[in-house]
Each structure stands twice: as structure tokens, then as C-alpha cells.
């Protein structure tokens, strides 16, 4: 009896996960970047406004633990030694996710997954861009920081005093 209940929960969980991660539910709640108008977080911030008016969000990879079959485990081992999948997410300035690509082996780099995402279904409107970190290539659709430049966080903190 107990066994059957666990099986039921498993199958319902599986159904829920599948339903949520596929259209139409997925496309209803995870809107591609650039569809919504510019966030007020940028528009109303004098430090950000004129410069980042074409930015439509940020993108980064995150490692999420996964338990692959033993024969695949080595590919999922990250440079930090964990076994995980590398998931690529983009979010807008209101902390809503606008894109998700999961299931990549933990050994894959952010840049590689980004390349894959661009070939699949990540569409960034002409003239706009996402913000990325140094793991990503610099492209018209992706703004990354300068390499080897120390950004003065202390100055940014002080600059809050307008």
C-alpha cells in the first residue's frame, strides 16, 4: 500500500514538472527577454538610465545538483568537484526569469551553453542586449565587463549619495 502511494506521488510530481516546463504554461510565465518595456529599476536610477537603456536583463549559469547514471557521472563533474548540471538562466530587472536552459553537463562552460541557447531559442531583439559576466563572449547581444579591470565597488556604493 505504502509503495503504491509513493508511486502515485512520483507520477504526479513527474506530470507536474512536465506540465510546468513545457508550453503553454512555460511560455505563459517565462516571457522571452525584451518583450516587456524597460523596467523602472533602470529608468528611474540616474546611475543606470541613459547607459543601460537597451539592457534587457542579465544572464548567468548556475550549478544545480543532479544525480546522473554512473557511466555519465564524469561529464557532470564541475571544475569545483561537485556533480551537477549547468543551467543557464536569464532574468529581467524585476527578478523574473526570462529564459532557462537546463540539463547541460556541469563540465560545460557558460560560453558554450550560451552558444547552444542562441542556436536553439534564445532570441535577443536587435539593438538590445543582456548583461553577462566574464564567462561569456562579448557580442552585440551580450555586454560583458572589461577583462582585467578592477571595478570600484566602493565608489559605486558612495555614489548612492546623489
Amino acid at each position: 500500500m505504502e509503495m503504491m502511494e509513493t508511486d502515485n506521488i512520483t507520477s504526479y510530481f513527474r506530470k507536474m514538472v512536465e506540465t510546468l516546463s513545457e508550453p503553454p504554461i512555460y511560455t505563459m510565465f517565462v516571457k522571452p527577454p525584451g518583450i516587456d518595456p524597460l523596467s523602472s529599476k533602470i529608468r528611474l536610477n540616474r546611475k543606470l538610465y541613459p547607459y543601460f537603456k537597451d539592457a534587457i536583463g542579465a544572464i548567468d549559469g548556475s550549478h544545480i545538483p543532479i544525480a546522473p547514471p554512473a557511466r555519465l557521472a564524469s561529464a557532470y563533474r564541475t571544475r569545483k568537484g561537485f556533480i551537477s548540471q549547468n543551467c543557464l538562466f536569464a532574468c529581467d530587472f524585476d527578478l523574473r526569469f526570462t529564459y532557462a536552459l537546463t540539463g547541460w553537463e556541469g563540465s560545460a562552460s557558460d560560453a558554450r551553453i550560451f552558444g547552444d541557447a542562441c542556436m536553439r531559442n534564445l532570441e535577443i531583439p536587435e539593438g538590445q542586449y543582456l548583461l553577462g559576466d566574464l564567462g561569456f563572449p562579448s557580442k552585440p547581444s551580450l555586454l560583458v565587463p572589461y577583462r582585467g579591470v578592477r571595478y570600484h565597488l566602493a565608489e559605486w556604493g558612495r555614489a548612492n549619495v546623489q
Binding site: T10, F13, R14, M16, V17, E18, L20, S21, I25, Y26, F29, V30, P50, Y51, F52, G57, A58, I59, D60, S62, I64, P65, I66, A67, P68, P69, L72, R79, I83, Q85, F89, A90, C91, F93, D94, L95, R96, F97, A100, T102, G103, S109, D110, A111, Y129, D133, L134, G135, F136, P137, S138, K139, P140, L143, V144, Y146, R147, L153, W156, G157
Partner: protein, 107 residues
């Protein structure tokens, strides 16, 4: 900022912290499904957020510190157009910053 979104997601949904026993394809779908749930919560009840431990305005962890070594070989992808865009934005910010320092009498 995006690190903060990850923080929220991982704090909200503890399932992301440990591997599960589901088949690989389901395990891969779980974060995607949780993004949907997260966006749904943001839409319907924006104030329903887990409490943050840190008040770091820049969005928390410096996990990206080591990521510099990954992109080394991708640098060739940069063409003049990209560099120009980045330079344009940087110059604009710098000019305004210098102007601000002048305005405050700091230079």
C-alpha cells in the same frame, strides 16, 4: 542581480540543493518548472519572498570570481562592433562621472 535571482530560487525551493532520484530528464526539467513557479509567485504575490540573509546591494556572492578562466578562448568572438558598443557606454559613463566629480568640486 542574477545571482540574487538564483539565491531567491534556491532558498525558495530546497529541492534544488540536493540531487533527486528522478530520471535524468525530469531532474533537468525541475529548475525550469521552478522558474515558472517563481515567476507565477512574482506575478500574483510579489511580496511573498523568502527573507534575505545578506543586504549586499550588488547581489551577493562573488561566485563569478573564478569564471574568468573559462572565457579565455572565446575572446576571438569579439569584433569591432561589440568593442565599440562597450567603449561607447564606458566613455559615456566615465565622462558623466568626471563631470559629476567636477560638479561636486572633488577634482
Amino acid at each position: 542581480m542574477i545571482e540574487r535571482a538564483f539565491g531567491v530560487l534556491k532558498k525558495q525551493f530546497q529541492i534544488l540543493l540536493l540531487p533527486t532520484r528522478y530520471p535524468l530528464d525530469i531532474q533537468a526539467c525541475i529548475p525550469v518548472a521552478l522558474c515558472v513557479v517563481h515567476n507565477f509567485i512574482m506575478l500574483c504575490h510579489p511580496s511573498d519572498q523568502p527573507i534575505h540573509d545578506d543586504d549586499d546591494p550588488m547581489g551577493g556572492s562573488n561566485e563569478g570570481d573564478g569564471s574568468g578562466d573559462e572565457g579565455e578562448d572565446e575572446d576571438e568572438d569579439e569584433d569591432d562592433g561589440d568593442v565599440n558598443m562597450r567603449n561607447r557606454i564606458a566613455h559615456q559613463m566615465w565622462d558623466d562621472y568626471v563631470e559629476l566629480l567636477h560638479a561636486r568640486g572633488l577634482v
